[in-house]
């Protein structure tokens, strides 16, 4: 049985990161957690991930900056990114999607089940995209 895609969660709120990890792990996904954008960069450089879930507001390097770094590196240019944000932070969604190819932005509070479904859907789309290219 092929391994399920591995997921990197970049979230400075430990409580939120833990519940996301729990839900994704229960669905069979290997999950790694970074507590901020800079740690996420280190982990990306050490290993391969198939999808990144990033909080937008993080100390040191926020989610947008992390994504920008990923898109500047050919190794992560096509890795799908799901961005998470508190609704009080009005993001320019269209700009982020166009400039940084962010797959989806979802808002807190969210349903963990919905996030797991979103991850599945995004990976399926990514997989079919890769298949088409091949």
């Amino acid at each position: 049985m092929p391994d399920l895609p591995s997921i990197l969660i970049a979230e400075d709120n430990r409580v939120m990161a833990d519940v996301l990890r729990f839900n994704l792990a229960r669905s069979g996904f290997p999950v790694t957690v970074a507590s901020n954008g800079l740690m996420a960069v280190e982990l990306l450089q050490e290993g391969a991930f198939d999808l990144v879930i990033s909080d937008y507001q993080m100390p040191g390097m926020n989610g947008e900056e992390l994504c920008r770094w990923m898109r500047s590196d050919p190794r992560y240019r096509t890795v799908p990114v799901l961005m998470c944000s508190a609704k009080g932070y009005e993001l320019d969604v269209s700009r982020l999607q166009e400039e940084l190819d962010i797959s989806r932005i979802f808002y807190k509070p969210f349903s963990p089940r919905d996030v797991v479904e979103l991850v599945r859907l995004t990976l399926e789309q990514q997989s079919s995209f890769v298949t088409d290219e091949v």
Partner: protein, 478 residues
């Protein structure tokens, strides 16, 4: 005009009476002559009969001459009036006669003289009042805190007050200078609504920011067409007001709203996520379930505290923050405060040191608010100390008061910002502070709580070394 306008002299009046008497005698002679003649006695009185009419003629001629002379005099004066200029003094003189015409003439002159005097007084009074009003108006204009200026059709300043000079950082008169150019010079850029200013009859209002930062200065600029302006000299009136503080306050409040929203949504999101996880997933072991429930409980408490903080801030803003004092066990209060921040310290692997003497005196304080104040100080210490750092809580009991020292090995506070840390909504410009969530109200609230208790809150800090906050609470009600 002659000052001899008034009554006819006494001598002239006496002469007039004698003349009237004489005339009466002449008439009497005429009548007598006629009677004598009728009775044939006229021949005997021939000399009288001849003299009487002659006398009559003389007297009549003399009286007629008086009247003619009076009318001529009046006519001559009116002729002189017809040829003089409007600004020359009136050449009218009173007439020394008791004829009705003369009396009437003199009355007219009297009234004209009176009117002239009143007119002169009124003119002098008007000039004085105008001078006074102008002086007062000028003082009023110079006293205005807002900048005020008049510009001509070319947009050049014709008049301005001192406040305008101060607002635009100008020394000396700006008369003749272009208002637009002065604004551009002040702002350091040309983001001026020239299209609106090009319409002379349009009221234009805009804000002008100095440089790119609101903190550098913001002016509210209003230009109005000058009412009643007909010539090209004064066409527009400009009103400039410094609105920097209002804009900074707006920015701080907007930032606060954003931060508050984030602070509310984060625990809400956690509560929802954990609750749903417990509901949807079967087979979660009991310990894990307990852990999740504890997390829900902790986040709910965090949310509750935040709501309380918001309410306290609201009361503080309204000046209605009040205390509910009770005798309070300080050791227990300290323990509860520490338990509140312990997860935060654990997460960052901070070393927590305590130096609390045993058997501390109880204080008569508002337990919830003092607890919130301590949690704020300890929470800040943990928040702004990098992983692996140190936070120390020391309590010193002195006669009459308790001192609470909260010290950290954190990022510290820049010297130029130390005086502002207790200001509402203030957040340091240090990027390391900006990266950490906060609403800028905690220290303001803490200071207010301490003040209401009659205590004192002070800070010593060194950038990159750490900070030490000291809260002093009196033992007796302050």
């Amino acid at each position: 005009m002659s000052s001899h306008i008034g009554e006819v002299p006494l001598t002239r009046r006496l002469v007039d009476h004698f003349l009237m008497f004489g005339l009466a005698c002449v008439l009497a002679c005429i009548v007598l002559s006629l009677l004598l003649g009728w009775n044939g006695l006229l021949a005997a009185q021939a000399p009288m009969t001849a003299i009487a009419p002659l006398l009559l003629l003389l007297v009549g001629g003399w009286m007629l001459r008086r009247t003619v002379r009076l009318n001529s005099e009046i006519e001559n004066q009116l002729r002189r009036m017809a040829v003089i200029s409007s600004s020359a003094e009136l050449p009218l003189q009173p007439l020394a006669d008791n004829e009705p015409a003369a009396i009437g003439w003199n009355a007219i002159l009297q009234r004209v003289a009176t009117a002239d005097s009143l007119a002169a007084v009124e003119a002098r009074l008007s000039r004085s009042l105008a001078g006074l009003d102008q002086h007062r108006l000028e003082r009023l204009i110079q006293s205005l805190p807002d900048g005020l200026a008049l510009t001509d059709a070319a947009g050049c300043i014709t008049h301005s007050n001192r406040s305008l000079d101060a607002l635009l950082d100008v020394e000396g008169s700006m008369a003749g200078q272009s208002m637009r150019d002065r604004l551009v010079q002040w702002a350091g850029h040309e983001e001026i609504p020239d299209d609106k200013l090009a319409e002379p009859l349009r009221t234009t209002v805009f804000e002008l920011c100095r440089g790119t930062s609101v903190a550098a200065g913001v002016l509210r600029v209003a230009r109005y067409p000058l009412a009643g302006s007909q010539s090209g000299n004064d066409v527009h009136v400009w009103l400039l007001r410094d609105v920097t503080q209002q804009r900074l306050a707006e920015e701080a409040r907007n930032q606060f709203v954003f931060t508050a929203t984030h602070e509310l949504r984060t625990p809400l999101a956690n509560i929802k996520a954990y609750a749903e996880t417990l509901v949807l997933h079967e087979g979660i072991d009991v310990e894990q379930q307990k852990s999740f429930c504890n997390t829900i409980n902790a986040e709910a408490t965090r949310l509750s505290r935040f709501v309380d903080e918001m309410l306290n801030i609201n009361q503080m803003e309204a000046g209605s923050l009040s205390l509910a004092r009770h005798e309070t066990d300080i050791e227990r209060l300290l323990q509860e405060a520490f338990e509140h921040v312990q997860p935060q310290m654990h997460q960052k692997n901070l070393e927590f040191q305590q130096a609390i003497p045993p058997k501390l005196s109880k204080l008569f304080v508002d337990k919830d608010k003092v607890s919130a104040a301590l949690v704020n100080l300890l929470g800040n210490a943990a928040k702004y100390t990098p992983d692996g750092g140190r936070v120390r809580l020391e309590v010193v009991e002195e006669p009459g008061e308790l001192l609470f020292h909260v010290e950290d090995s954190g990022i510290g506070i820049a010297a130029e910002e130390l005086s502002q840390v207790f200001n509402k909504f203030f957040r340091s410009s240090d990027d390391r502070v900006r990266d950490v969530s906060g609403n800028g109200l905690g220290l303001s609230f803490t200071q207010e709580v301490v003040r209401l208790h009659g205590g004192q809150l002070t800070v010593h800090s060194e950038l990159d070394k750490g900070s030490r906050f000291t809260m002093v609470l009196p033992k007796k009600q302050g």
